[in-house]
């Protein structure tokens, strides 16, 4: 028999450690296909980056979780997921500068640094998996973006498949170019582009989103992703960054703008994984949708105004920061509702 004030089970966020473990293991299972595709496209260096990133996150959590939270929090698998997500957003290979030849692939060190920052600064000080106010993976990648913008966005092309263009889609969009044509549509869908190691394959992303919408435990969280993608698409249609052709801004160019915005950078990855952090979302599906729309709007705003090649993680952090304001609005609306109901009852009683 449930208590009176208790929310129904599907509305609750991670209530117990078991819930948290189940959530993170599901996330891990959904992320592994992306890692395998990264291995297929970029070879062993993708796996190196992922393994080092995960190891750094786990070690940081092992050491500092014991020190500050006074308990072992590794059991919920969140550190592994955070490390993996940061690795997925990085390039598989960053060539070292000429004077440091001995260290090889630099992406490994950046991944480790981002993971340690995410765990040490964003996750543990706020009390662990169930209480963190910001998505740690987004914060870790935002830190790397702010510190090393020239390194994090130097993508190398895959040796297995030939990319449609030699530049990344985000950079092309920043330059106002349109890379989507009827000929290479399917190649872009299968990820034959230059970009981060785990976020390029659009088809898999769409499949993952559909799977999330079908999973009962993920459905209401996936509404945030849906709202995010719809908002980005609508704003890309209204305010295209693709430069107009000879006939001006035609309908085809506007549709291509939507495609370019969704495909470029790690936007779909961030929408599907980073935005769905349970502790950073409100408790009802329609409010989650609103948060998703807010994050989408912020993403387009930052893409128009920002200086970096990819700004989606900053938009997600800003949307996370808006959560207390959303709670306050919810409370206010609830109180107004109760007040109006009381007033109606009083007037009914007076009439009677």
């Amino acid at each position: 028999m449930p208590k009176q004030n208790q929310q129904p089970r599907w509305k609750q966020r991670l209530a117990t450690n078991r819930d948290a473990r189940r959530w993170n293991l599901t996330s891990l299972a959904l992320t592994l296909p992306l890692l395998l595709l990264g291995y297929f496209y970029y070879g062993a260096s993708a796996l190196h980056v992922a393994v080092v990133s995960v190891l750094a996150a786990v070690l940081a959590e092992l050491l500092f979780g014991r020190l500050f939270l006074r308990k072992n929090t590794l059991g919920d698998w969140n550190a592994v997921v955070v490390g993996l997500w940061i690795a997925c957003m990085l390039p598989a290979f960053i060539a070292p500068p000429e004077q440091y030849d001995m260290l090889g692939n630099y992406a490994v060190w950046y991944a480790a640094l981002g993971s340690v920052f995410a765990i040490l600064v964003v996750k543990i000080p706020f009390g662990g998996t169930k209480h963190m106010p910001f998505s740690p993976a987004a914060a870790g990648f935002a830190f790397l973006t702010a510190c090393f913008p020239h390194r994090v966005f130097t993508f190398t092309a895959s040796e297995v498949v030939a990319p449609v263009r030699s530049r990344s889609m985000a950079l092309l969009l920043n330059l106002g170019e349109n890379a989507i044509t009827p000929n290479n549509f399917f190649r872009i869908l299968f990820g034959h582009t230059v970009g981060p190691m785990g976020t390029g394959v659009v088809l898999v992303m769409v499949v993952l989103l559909v799977v999330m919408l079908l999973l009962k435990s993920r459905r209401s969280y996936a509404m945030a992703s849906l709202g995010f993608i719809v908002a980005v698409a609508a704003l890309a249609f209204l305010f295209p960054r693709v430069s107009p052709g000879v006939d001006g801004m035609t309908m085809n160019l506007r549709l291509a703008s939507i495609g370019m915005e969704l495909v470029s950078g790690s936007l779909l990855f961030a929408a599907i994984f980073l935005l769905q952090e349970p502790s950073t979302l409100p408790s009802r599906w329609h409010t989650r949708l609103v948060v998703g729309v807010l994050a989408g709007g912020l993403t387009i705003l930052l893409r128009h105004l920002g200086t970096f090649e990819e700004n989606v993680v900053f938009a997600i952090l800003l949307a996370n920061a808006a959560l207390p304001a959303i709670y306050r609005l919810q409370d206010e609306w609830q109180q107004q509702k109760i007040f109006r109901r009381k007033q109606a009852e009083e007037t009914e009683a007076a009439d009677a």
Binding site: W109, L113, P125, A146, C147, F148
Partner: protein, 309 residues
């Protein structure tokens, strides 16, 4: 003229700077400090200028501004700040020709951020909280305490931000390793400040738990939050005593009415509810100001009332 009710604590300057640190405990004067700590040399210069400004403001406030309205006093602090920033800026311009070239860059940069110091909250807050209630000597002491605390944090932050973010110290390059530019940027400064504050709080708690500080009570009095907690405890205690009295009364034998009427006007012990209004919720609860009543006085009041009964 406001009453001089605030007690003047006689403890060492270093101890005050540690326990009542203006940046880490009181959280005042943060924004200019974030901008000025990108290099150690600039942090030192800025601390020096802020210290002198604070000293002048507190002296003026304790000497002449006690009878003024608070809004007029704030305007005076800002006016002093503007005059001071202007003078210091001109001084730096003259001095820039004398010292070396690396100094000139820092000094010019400092000139650009000096107007921020003019509206810095540290002088206004310390004057309003302390200097206008105390004499000149205590105010000078308070200015010293806050300047030392401010300078210590500025030096730590300047060291870390210049060393890790820029890979140099006093403008001299240290190593050719990877530089983490985040420390050098404003967000890194704010993060660093937050973690320093957390570290200070942890150390204070740790030392008071292990009994390392000999007089932990004195240390507690400097932390406003702990002070609030203690007040809450006393409040709870007094309420409980009140309730206990109310519950005890019906058990006693009711006195005849004539006696009660005679007894009332004679000796009325001050009821506890006069001192503390009954609290309804955490948000509407108001505590008496410590400026008017210290904890010792409150306890004495309570004990005296109980003894009378």
């Amino acid at each position: 003229m406001p009453k001089q009710t605030k007690r003047v604590k006689r403890e060492s300057v270093l101890r005050g700077a540690w326990l009542d640190n203006p940046m880490l405990v009181q959280a005042i004067g943060l924004t200019p400090a974030i901008i000025a700590t990108t290099s150690l040399r600039m942090a030192l210069w800025f601390s020096l200028v802020t210290a002198i400004h604070l000293l002048i403001c507190e002296m003026v406030a304790s000497l002449w501004l006690k009878k003024w309205h608070s809004w007029a006093r704030t305007a005076v602090y800002f006016a002093i700040g503007i005059i001071f920033a202007f003078g210091a800026g001109m001084l730096f311009e003259v001095w820039g020709g004398v010292v070396g070239q690396t100094d000139v860059v820092d000094l010019l940069m400092l000139r650009a951020i000096l107007p921020l110091m003019a509206t810095s909250s540290i002088a206004a807050v310390r004057c309003e909280r302390f200097a206008v209630y105390n004499n000149l000597r205590a105010s000078v002491r308070d200015a010293l305490v806050n300047a030392v605390g401010f300078t210590a944090v500025m030096i730590i932050m300047g060291l870390l931000r210049e060393g890790l973010g820029h890979g140099s110290l006093f403008g001299v390059e240290l190593t050719e390793t990877m530089r983490i530019r985040g420390f050098w940027m404003p967000f890194g400064g704010f993060l660093l400040l937050g973690f320093l504050a957390a570290a200070l709080k942890t150390i204070l708690q740790w030392t008071s738990q292990r009994g390392i500080t000999t007089d932990a009570d004195e240390a507690m009095e400097f932390c406003p939050e702990d002070r609030q907690e203690r007040l809450e405890k006393i409040h709870h205690l007094l309420n409980a005593a009140d309730e206990y009295e109310k519950s005890r009364k019906p058990d006693d034998e009711p006195a005849p009415e004539s006696q009660q009427e005679e007894a009332q006007p004679e000796a009325e012990p001050k009821p506890v509810s006069v001192l503390f209004e009954p609290a309804t919720s955490n948000f509407t609860r108001e505590f008496p100001r410590l400026d008017d009543l210290t904890i010792e006085q409150l306890l004495a009041e309570f004990q005296g009332g109980a003894r009378d009964e």
